[in-house]
Structure formats: structure tokens, C-alpha cells
Amino acid sequence: MVHQVEDAVLEIHDLTVTYNKKPVLWDIDLTLPKGSIIGIIGPNGAGKSTLIKSIMGLVPNSSGYIKVFDKELNKVRNKVSYVPQKESVDWDFPASVLDVVLMGRYSKLGLFKRPRKADREVALDCIRKVGMEQFLNRQISQLSGGQQQRVFIARALAQEADIYFMDEPFAGVDAATERAIITMLREMTEKGKTVIVIHHDLQSASEYFNWIVLLNMRLVASGPTALTLTPELLQETYGGKLTLLAEVGNLMEKGEFPTRDKR
């Protein structure tokens, strides 16, 4: 069940990614619509992070191509923003919250150029959006995990990009902040921005996203939320992992496991 769209902001064609000759992603064919907030959902090891990393050019593709705004990524990098997983950096780095968020402005500045007052204003505004204004000059190692995550979101927002890729941006973030950020992301999509989020909580997924991508090494489904978050497709995505499915309210009967997980 894969809905393809016209005038896609992101087009993935025949993408296969392997780590040490073991395939992690198989034959992904995907187009995503502009101005939507999109959730990527799948079990651990389904290749969700790998998908985003290969879109960002951080892991090599074995085959296929990826186009963002109908162009190669390198030509539109300034329109693309990325929130990596929090664990990807060393938080003991001697930098403050403001320092890190200002890095989001670097893509707009050339060599030699220092961030100017206008850049600081944007950075401050983004810090306010994620509710971190009282920690402006705090060293980043003295933040909680959820606060560090919010710094990363603020940094991505400071880029003022047109498309955002977020790798589990809500890990460790409290429920109230998560909701506030989702509301803000929704407002951004209403202005034509596109936000793509790797998400783990199936319960909130239907509420947060208007487009869902179900992934388990292969693309299971991609389409409007109402058509994709169905028991059948979830079962196909999660295979026999009943405990996870129990979270969506025992939508599925026990028994028949799909062949996807079998070797």
C-alpha cells in the first residue's frame, strides 16, 4: 500500500542500503507530499535511522537515487535540515545552548562570516520555541536528556529550511513539551514546510501525523494516516512482536505471523 504523489518534495527510487554486505534497506520506492507532517514508523532495526541517514548522504547507497525538491541533495542542502539522535555527539563539549543553536545558522554564512545580530535573533527565537530560553547560556552537559534533544530541535529550526528530517526527536522529552513542539511543527507545515519524524509511540502517531511511512527493511506502506495505520498493515510491519501491537489496543488477533521476519 504505497501512495505515490505528484510534485513530491522527496523522491526515493529503488533505494538499497547495505552494511557490511548485509542489506538494511531493500528496494525503497517512495514519494512524499509537500506541506505535511510525516511519521516514519517501524520496529527496532527496521532501518528508519538508516533511511534518514542515506537521504542526508551520511551512509552510501548500494543502489537507487534520492531527490529532494526534484534535485540532488548537494544542490539543495541549505533547504534541508536534520535532527540527529542525541547520542551522536559528546555533550561534554565546551559550548552553551546558544552556541549550539547558532550552528544552525552556519549554512547561511560563507567562509569568514561570523553570525550577525539577525542570526542571533533567529537562534533566540528558536530556543524560545522549544521552551529553553531560561537555559540560554547553560553549558550543554548540564542539561537533561530531553533538554539536550530540544537544543537539537532548536538548532534544526534555526536553519529555516523547507524540509526537516528528525531522528527520534522526542526521546526523553516530556509529554507537555512534545505536544507543544508538535503543535509548532504543524504550524510550520501549514506554511508549506515538510517535517519527517521517526516516531516510536503508535498511540500518538495517528494524532500527530497526517502521513505515515511504515518501514521494516522494506517499505510496507506510505500514505495518509487514516489509510496506513490499520491493524493489517501494522501487523505486517511489526511481524510477530505482539507486545508492541498490544499498545495499539490489541487490534490484532493472535496466530498467523507474517513471513517478513522469517529467514
Binding site: M56, L58, P84, S88, D90, P94, V100, Y106, K113, Q139
Partner: protein
């Protein structure tokens, strides 16, 4: 006057080393500095053999190339061979250094290079090796000019690439995503480290240059939580190290390079014990005070 030249050379060298060392420490590549400082040896020998003159410029070029080549090899073994970085560093630089040792012993008659000098350096000779113009005018010690030029290069490099170096050091993946080439800045940084190491090795030697690369930045790291201050404190520490190192050596009548590295180590120990935030003793005093005020309030 001799003391002035020696201290000035020491300051210039330790500031260049310290500034670059800040990046090495934060990139968790401190031992890459060690590797480069040893691995440049064959580069220097090759440069000497090819040109036949002990001209600092050719030596800088030769060593610079080998330095970057070393970091390339380290990366290569790490990525292609799936070898751990530390093992990769260990294999690469010992091999290159050994090659240099063999080359020196093979061509000992042809080149004017002393292993002892390469390893331990002799900053005390700085005032003797003068730069004299054809007209006979004495311009001052050659080492001062070389280390001065290297310091200017290093400072210019950091000013031009401040954003890029900071972004690639803190979060390389994100840097790639906003269009900064991590590979380019990695090799530029490594090139700068190679240059600095070679320029310094005549004065402090291949082994002790590591002390200047790592100890002042490590000390500064304990003292501040702001990257710009870290660069600044490292600079000040470099100057303190050179001055007090020189006078310690005079007092002990010992090796200047050894004394400078000892001071660098002592300064680190002081920061480790007394740093206002991270210091071991400061922390325990703070705890005691807090306990004291707590028990008083009961």
C-alpha cells in the same frame, strides 16, 4: 638576549601547538598528535635526501605531506579494515617512525640529522642558529622566524575556519548535512598539526611536542566551559609554560624542553586538583562546606 630568544621560541611553539591541540582534544584525537609527531620523521629524512640541504622550508613541506598521509592511513585502516582507531594509530605511526630511524641510520653519513635531536630537541641552540642575510646582516635566530610564521598560519587558519572547525568538531554528521566538508577540514587540521609539529620538533623534540599539543588544552578544558575561553586559556598556559620552564631549567641546569613539559604537566595537575568546577579538592571542599551549613541549620 639568549634567554629572550629561547623563551620567545618556546612561546611561539607552545601557542601554535596548544591552539591546534584544543581541536585534537575535543575530537578525541589527542593521540593522533602523538602519531603525527613521530611519523613525520621519514618525511624529514626524505626531504633532506632529495634536496640535500637542511633547509627548514623543504623539511616543513616533506613532513607536512607525511603528516597528512599518516592521518589518511589511520582513517583508511580504521574504515576499510574495521580496526579500532587506537590500534590503527599504533600500527601506523610506529611503522613510519621506524622507517625514519632506518633511513637515518642508512644515510647517516650523507645527512646532517641527529636522532637524539629529533627525539628530544634542543631549544638551547636556538640563539646560535642565526639567519644571516647575504649582505651580512644578522636577522636573529632562524627558529623564531619559522615558529612565528607557523603561528601566523595557525591563527589565520583558525580565524578563517572557526565556524567550520567548530561544527565539524562538535557534530560531524550535522556539519555534513549543512554542506561543510568534514574530510576537507579534517585534513586541513591534520596538515596544520603536521606543520606545527615539524616546526616545533627542532626546539622541543618529537616526544615532548605531544606534551605541548595536549597538556595545555587538557588543562584549559578543565578550567572553562566556553570554547573561545579554552583557546585563550591555552594560549596563556603556553606562555606560562615557556617562561617558567626556561627558568626551571636554568635553576636545575637541565634540559629546557624537559622542564617546559614538566611545567605543563604540573599546571595540569593544579587544574585537576583546584579547578573551580571540576577540581577534585574543590569538589570535596564544596561538599564539606555544604554539609557544614546543613548541620548548622539543624
Amino acid at each position: 638576549m639568549n634567554a629572550f630568544w629561547i623563551i620567545l621560541t618556546g612561546c611561539l611553539v607552545s601557542i601554535s601547538c596548544g591552539l591546534l591541540g584544543c581541536y585534537l582534544v575535543l575530537r578525541k584525537m589527542a593521540m593522533v598528535g602523538d602519531a603525527i609527531s613521530h611519523a613525520v620523521l621519514p618525511g624529514i629524512v626524505f626531504a633532506l635526501l632529495l634536496t640535500g640541504v637542511r633547509d627548514s622550508f623543504t623539511m616543513l613541506i616533506g613532513a607536512g605531506i607525511i603528516g597528512v598521509f599518516t592521518t589518511f592511513l589511520i582513517e583508511f585502516f580504521h574504515r576499510k579494515g574495521n580496526l579500532q582507531t587506537d590500534a590503527s594509530i599504533g600500527v601506523t605511526f610506529t611503522w613510519l617512525f621506524a622507517l625514519g630511524v632506518i633511513l637515518i641510520s642508512l644515510f647517516a653519513g650523507q645527512i646532517d640529522l641527529d636522532q637524539e635531536c629529533v627525539l628530544y630537541g634542543e631549544i638551547a641552540y636556538v640563539p646560535i642558529d642565526l639567519w644571516i642575510l647575504d649582505s651580512g646582516e644578522v636577522m636573529g635566530p632562524r627558529a623564531v622566524y619559522i615558529s612565528g610564521i607557523v603561528l601566523i598560519i595557525v591563527v589565520t587558519f583558525i580565524i578563517i575556519g572557526y565556524k567550520e572547525l567548530l561544527a565539524t568538531t562538535f557534530d560531524p554528521d550535522y556539519a555534513v548535512c549543512i554542506g561543510i566538508s568534514t574530510a576537507l577540514w579534517h585534513y586541513l587540521l591534520m596538515g596544520a598539526v603536521s606543520l606545527t609539529t615539524v616546526a616545533s620538533f627542532e626546539s622541543v623534540g618529537a616526544i615532548l611536542v605531544v606534551a605541548l599539543l595536549i597538556a595545555p588544552p587538557a588543562t584549559a578544558y578543565l578550567l572553562t566551559e566556553n570554547f573561545k575561553f579554552m583557546l585563550l586559556i591555552t594560549t596563556v598556559l603556553g606562555i606560562i609554560t615557556s617562561i617558567s620552564g626556561y627558568y626551571l631549567a636554568v635553576w636545575l641546569d637541565g634540559s629546557i624542553a624537559g622542564a617546559m613539559s614538566t611545567i605543563a604537566g604540573l599546571l595540569f595537575a593544579l587544574a585537576f586538583l583546584f579547578s573551580p568546577k571540576e577540581g577534585i579538592l574543590t569538589k570535596s571542599w564544596r561538599n564539606k562546606e555544604q554539609n557544614g551549613t546543613l548541620s548548622k541549620s539543624f
